[in-house]
């Protein structure tokens, strides 16, 4: 446990000090502020525009940061051979994967949480009601971002950093479309297609089950039960991806 905590803390320090992260985060804040300008041309709908586009910015930047940093987490340690230092000490492969994940989760907590809080304060300033939902939406975006991290960590144990990032972004997009995969199974293209689309549907994380932004702009009332179930589903998905990553790491030689 100490080891996992040490690796997590170390990863948090490493990633949070990375200048690239600061640059991207500042850019994201700039995008949120740009929402003010969108609000000004929206005929008194500034609050809604700020919330909606702000949350899109939080999602996009969160996912981009997640995909690119997560890919280097494991890869960099292997390529730069810091794993030699770790695995020549009493550190389990699973502990390594979990520690890395938790460390980046903490960093992303700071980044995504910071963006969400900033957006929340901006919507308070602009007005437009239901601002608290911005924080709820941010929390759910954070869960999606963590799922992307787990997926990318898994990919990075078997392939290169760049490819893992791309696959991670691909999975995020596919997750937005996951229900489309299912509708493929209904077009009657035969049993094999149907079975295959079911498999893909189950494999891809379902990111479109709950529309958090719609709730934040008052489009939908929040079904807390559905939100909670979705949250549990995402946590379970991450766990499976991390177990997969640990399994691959255990079999790896350096």
């Amino acid at each position: 446990m100490t080891q996992v905590a040490a690796i997590a803390l170390n990863t948090f320090r490493e990633t949070v000090r990375d200048r690239v992260l600061t640059v991207i985060a500042l850019f994201a804040l700039l995008m949120i502020v740009a929402g003010l300008w969108l609000g000004s041309i929206s005929l008194e709908q500034g609050g809604r525009m700020m919330k909606d586009f702000g949350l899109v910015a939080v999602t996009a930047f969160g996912v981009i940061i997640a995909a690119f940093i997560a890919a280097t987490l494991v890869r960099k340690e292997v390529e730069k051979r810091t794993v030699f230092v770790l695995f020549s000490k009493p550190v389990s492969r699973g502990g390594f994967v979990v520690g890395k994940f938790l460390g980046l989760a903490a960093t992303l907590g700071v980044v995504v949480g910071g963006m969400g809080l900033f957006l929340f304060l901006m919507t308070l300033a602009v007005g437009g009601g239901a601002s608290g939902m911005v924080l709820v939406a941010t929390a759910l975006i954070y869960l999606q971002v963590l799922t992307v991290v787990a997926v990318v960590v898994f990919f990075s144990t078997i392939t290169s950093a760049i490819l893992s990032s791309m696959l991670g972004l691909g999975v995020f997009v596919a997750g937005q479309l996951s229900h489309n995969v299912l509708s493929l199974s209904r077009i009657g293209a035969g049993a094999v297609t149907e079975a295959a689309s079911w498999v893909v549907f189950v494999l891809i994380p379902n990111f479109s089950a709950v529309d958090v932004k719609a709730a934040a702009v008052g489009e939908q009332t929040v079904d807390w039960g559905a939100v909670a179930l979705w949250g549990v589903y995402l946590v379970a998905y991450m766990t499976v991806a991390l177990i997969g990553a640990a399994f691959v790491m255990r079999r790896k030689e350096f």
């Binding site: 929206s42 005929l43 509708s183 529309d211 932004k213 489009e219």
Partner: protein, 245 residues
């Protein structure tokens, strides 16, 4: 010397970049007819970003409307845009309100009424949409029973929890006999009370026409509208009409 050359080059390039863009307004102007995908395309493409896409198209609609209403008056794509936005975000009340006036300007009062009917259905807890429907029927409706239909819409709006009290009175006024100009003024006042800058402009123009020209009578006619809107809106209207307090 080299430094001066680099500086000169930089200045020249900045001038080129800025100059290129600022001489481009003709190219930047939008076409009267634009491609508008169907809502179901976006539903499939990105269900978790529906409202964001609706908002983006709403901003586009505002821009499109503003640009064409001032220039060529061609609003060919307004119906498609309004349908797309409200299909993606059925509870976007503002989109129904703005969409109604945009459709009227596009010469589609029927489509505007259909839009408001759908909007009222999707937003039963909102009074703006049925109230606007009442106005639309009153101002653009045909047929003998149009006053009754308009009054029904106002009554429906008044029944919504949190609706302002004057909506109920509007319903009653409509079905009462006589005073057509006063009725019309009240309806437009309601539009002014609820609307964005485009619909306020329209309401001010209509009220300017409806209210008597004589200053004293005009002030009295305006005072009768006081109860049709919140106090600060009324002050705004008085300023817009140029009637002294």
């Amino acid at each position: 010397m080299r430094r001066a050359l680099v500086a000169l080059l930089a200045v020249a390039c900045v001038a080129l970049v800025v100059g290129y863009q600022v001489t481009r307004p003709e190219q930047a102007a939008g076409k009267p007819r634009v491609f508008v995908p169907s809502a179901s395309f976006f539903e499939d493409f990105s269900p978790a970003f529906r409202t964001s896409i609706a908002d983006a198209y709403y901003l586009y609609l505002v821009q499109y409307y503003g640009e064409h209403i001032k220039t060529d008056q061609r609003l060919d794509s307004v119906p498609d845009l309004v349908t797309l936005i409200t299909d993606l975000s059925p509870r976007f009340v503002k989109a129904y309100q703005f969409g109604t006036f945009a459709l009227l300007d596009a010469g589609e009062p029927g489509a505007a009424y259909e839009l408001l009917k759908r909007g009222a259905e999707a937003n039963r807890d909102d009074y703006h949409v049925p109230a606007l429907a009442g106005f639309l029927v009153y101002a653009f409706g045909q047929g003998e029973d149009k006053l009754q239909i308009a009054a029904d819409w106002y009554a429906r709006a008044a029944a919504v929890e949190g609706a302002p009290a004057y909506l109920g009175r509007l319903a009653a006024t409509l079905t009462a006999k006589g005073g057509e100009r006063e009725k019309a003024a009240l309806m437009w006042a309601q539009v002014y009370a609820d609307g964005d800058k485009y619909s306020r402009e329209k309401a001010v123009a209509a009220l300017d026409e409806l209210l008597p020209a004589d200053p004293a009578e005009r002030a009295a006619g305006l005072a009768a509208l006081r109860e049709a809107m919140p106090a600060e809106r009324f002050d705004m209207l008085r300023d817009d009409l140029g009637v002294g307090g």
